[in-house]
Symmetry: D2
Subunit: 348 residues, 4 copies
Amino acid sequence: MIVVMKPGYTPEQLEGVVAAVKAHGLTPHLTYGVETAIVAAVGEFHVPALDPFEILDGVETVKRISQPFKLGSRQAHPENSVFPIDGFNVGGDDIVIIAGPCSVESRSQILETAQAAREAGANALRGGVFKPRTSPYSFQGLGEEGLEYLAEARELTGMPIVVEIMSQVQLELMLKYVDVFQVGARNMQNFNLLRMLGETRKTVLLKRGLSATIEELLMSAEYILAGGNKQVILCERGIRTFETATRNTTDINAIPVLKQLTHLPVILDPSHATGHVDYVPPIARAGIAAGADGLIVEVHPDPTRAVSDGKQSLKPEAFAAMVKQVKAIAETMGRRIAPVHAPLEAGR
Amino acid sequence: MIVVMKPGYTPEQLEGVVAAVKAHGLTPHLTYGVETAIVAAVGEFHVPALDPFEILDGVETVKRISQPFKLGSRQAHPENSVFPIDGFNVGGDDIVIIAGPCSVESRSQILETAQAAREAGANALRGGVFKPRTSPYSFQGLGEEGLEYLAEARELTGMPIVVEIMSQVQLELMLKYVDVFQVGARNMQNFNLLRMLGETRKTVLLKRGLSATIEELLMSAEYILAGGNKQVILCERGIRTFETATRNTTDINAIPVLKQLTHLPVILDPSHATGHVDYVPPIARAGIAAGADGLIVEVHPDPTRAVSDGKQSLKPEAFAAMVKQVKAIAETMGRRIAPVHAPLEAGR
Amino acid sequence: MIVVMKPGYTPEQLEGVVAAVKAHGLTPHLTYGVETAIVAAVGEFHVPALDPFEILDGVETVKRISQPFKLGSRQAHPENSVFPIDGFNVGGDDIVIIAGPCSVESRSQILETAQAAREAGANALRGGVFKPRTSPYSFQGLGEEGLEYLAEARELTGMPIVVEIMSQVQLELMLKYVDVFQVGARNMQNFNLLRMLGETRKTVLLKRGLSATIEELLMSAEYILAGGNKQVILCERGIRTFETATRNTTDINAIPVLKQLTHLPVILDPSHATGHVDYVPPIARAGIAAGADGLIVEVHPDPTRAVSDGKQSLKPEAFAAMVKQVKAIAETMGRRIAPVHAPLEAGR
Amino acid sequence: MIVVMKPGYTPEQLEGVVAAVKAHGLTPHLTYGVETAIVAAVGEFHVPALDPFEILDGVETVKRISQPFKLGSRQAHPENSVFPIDGFNVGGDDIVIIAGPCSVESRSQILETAQAAREAGANALRGGVFKPRTSPYSFQGLGEEGLEYLAEARELTGMPIVVEIMSQVQLELMLKYVDVFQVGARNMQNFNLLRMLGETRKTVLLKRGLSATIEELLMSAEYILAGGNKQVILCERGIRTFETATRNTTDINAIPVLKQLTHLPVILDPSHATGHVDYVPPIARAGIAAGADGLIVEVHPDPTRAVSDGKQSLKPEAFAAMVKQVKAIAETMGRRIAPVHAPLEAGR
């Protein structure tokens, strides 16, 4: 932490800063400039916030010099984190493709989608059963019935299932069914939920909030990691900006930035990041080209009948074409699509 | 809902749209333009999303024409909602000032702050006991101990207490202590929590999310109202933009926009909206001048020792000066600061 | 400037940084932390950019510690700048109200508006003759004809005229007519234009760009000040954010932030900042309450016939009502609306 | 254009809207809903703005239904625009790579960079001679001297030169030297400059403004096209958002959106879009994977000594490695890097 004094600061004010630094258990180092003075205080990590220093008399500004996240940091853990999800690995050379509908709507819908996604090359199945809807008048999800259909789809296809958890009270039920917990953008800073997931030993797919900074995403991951759960996948899903031509703005920069800052796997959700089927394949390709470790994509057998997100859901054929393009790009970078352990035939 | 066809649409595509409109129980009205055709479909409110129409063949774009919120809408309820909170009214001519520390830190801190705030003209006391902290390594709140101190402060000063709820599992405990539930910016779209608060009959102070639109704020209020709880206060607390000179950007426009769209009371939080004590009084004045029904302000007896938000917490003297300025502006607009029913002397 | 070394930096890398600091004529001061080292280099103002340091081997990050603006800074010039515009002062206790149509459309329109604005309490007249229009197919302004009408309106009412300049090639013509040059949001970083205006001795009203930071606005003012022209008025006119309920988002925080950082006068444009007549009066009130030194407001005798900005233009009656409200708020703060020197009767 | 009436509108108000629609030469089509009425008015393109309708009594909202741009629209011109730049084509299957320093600093710097860029696979050379600098105290460019060095580099390497124009007064001089005029982000809405470039017959590379929408970028292109100059290249270079981990946020979505809306070539500037050399190669790859027709990349022989943008400038070796990666991705999509007509050997 660097405390910069205002031009014209008094010796008493400087002493006040030095005393405050010491009171927080840090060692002050002073540098005198032409008009100002700088107090460098090492060990800031244990200072909960900079506020107590920023409002001392005579202080111009205070700047952090160390990252506020620890367990997720690549400084602390230079190698990529690689961990298994029911038969394939995430975070290594292989690329993971999670596909499925926004909402589980019926048994036939999810079984049909699962098989088509599996045949097209998907590794895991997504499907929501508790839906965070902007309107209380919209469809809110099938609940446990949906979980049962997902479990059946898993048996049929060998693909692990990824399901969004919205509340602490859903945990017990979901633990019986789910392979990967998805935390949605709106819950990225639901710290109670994150802490509870940190107590489990299931993989957590943590989506970036609509207006969360990259640093805040890493701080939220820290809540899970601090509980001892090391299996966290980060997901860029578009941020909110002034541009209205697309549902969100894909922050493609976040892919290489995250890969540099953290050892955790990083995937992209081109469906929410664009909001329109026409843009999903090019942005999926861009994500892999930028270095993402995988994709999560909305696929629906009949998007015009989807209860939610139809506009951004690929039909199975379009999804299959997208996987081929992604595969070709991955190969130029020395990567491949992760295989699925259970042969589809076995499940049939 | 208006469906606009692409230039060069075919008669079959137009028939497809008409059929889809009918299939959703709506009546289509056709208008033919030079290159395009328009299908107006009345009754869109019952259409959960526009997606099913947007992806039909030949469709250029689909636009909503009616507001997606109902119970909170001023169209449905032209008069201001006015409701009592333990001795004073919110939403009428009187202006409400809620003050207190970010976190309850100790018994003496909250009692001292409550008395000073009360003397300076505050109507209600705020104080957090469960804290949503970006970092898992920061102070997380005193929990029930904090609620007890707040209850004691209420007895002492006659001011009702406003406390943030972060999770469904905290409801039962908090119901025993709290007068007004605050829903923080990060939980504005925690729909399970909102629905649960809609089942209670306690006032809810709903803060706008960091990147939530005004319409989304009203949709979140709808979750509470739909449960039968009509006592919802909306709160502008700054949005996230590119500007970094302040913690957030006060969306002062939201005050008159909300007052036009909804009958619910609207207040401003100048502390979070600016992030710095120097800017709290001018922005508090601006909020009242723009038509806000109240303020919620962070006050702390010794901000340099606050465990959180010290930088944006006013000392009691500065708060008292701010109240005077706000009062003068309110009077030019025919309003006054709401009185507190219980005389402070009685509580002592 | 503070250069922070990466954890695990080598002695050679640190020497490289020290050498680079010296090569730029600065004196390095070293501080050793637990894992890192810090090089403080005084005199950064003469370093054009931090880039040369940021990319040195072993460097984690580089942070500025002094403000990049000088002539506009309140540190350099603690007293408010107060300067006259044809009969009244800007930047002191008095509040200035500039009013008029977006575009000069005809002789009768501008004369009628000028008289009505003057009677309602305006001090200066605005009106565009060269219009920056998003579409090449829209009305582009009356040019010199418009300037002549404005000059006539000035004679009639005694009000100085404020006109937008869009290009260097317009300067010579405009110098003959204009009292205050307005630089629009889209030209805030048209550095050639700013430099040329710095050579004149006419007041410049510099509007903040749609996505310009407060610091960038001050840097643009620096271009004018550096030419020796000290008469610069800064104008907040709304920034672009994700919110679409209003045309722009009024950054009301910018008012107190600018008043703290600079000695230059700061005014607000509530018309562009909101985009809708219904919101102009409350936001005008908010601006004055927040400490602005004035307002610039669009007024039109018949907004439904305005060629541009009709939606955000007040009718004269609504403008007069707004001035009354603003006046009452100003008085609670010890300020008044600046008088106009020439009596309206004399001009008639 | 669709005019939606407020619930509770009166017959007189509806007549007023119908009359206004007719007064603008449009034909009104009425649809009556349950609570509202809709007036569809065909031919809106000739209506300069919606404001006159939005402020009529009884009107709830007005929505455009046709795009405001014409000449650049793919509806009007379904095939890609392909045009030659001194030996290679832009906008077809070939991918164009423009490389060079931010600023021309010296003869040796630009000749060295040009040769290295050419050898690595670049097709065209960029270099600024008039620099838009945020600070008046920063280096402002070499002017004509720089143009002469660029011309020499063109002779040496056979690569056409791309140079930024900042002001109308620079046009005459630059016409003698420049092959492609670059319009920078800050000048995207300098409409006088755009109109003047529309009068020339040189290719214009138009960069998107920091906070310009995709539609505004297309409207600015319209200014150039309307002058008869059909050779316009659009460039995504990052937008300004709340994220501060990178200099800008690459709006990668803009690539497929623009390719869908317009027939003009679309390229990406990964240097400004990220602001850091580490992120330039992954984002360059992403751009090509998303369907961009080319790249413009900052390359400098010694970035630590660059007078501007050193942090985001690739060394020639890193640039050559990036070109190889981009080439491999382009090939998976059936594209190749455009060849340069003049052999490098000839120029030496």
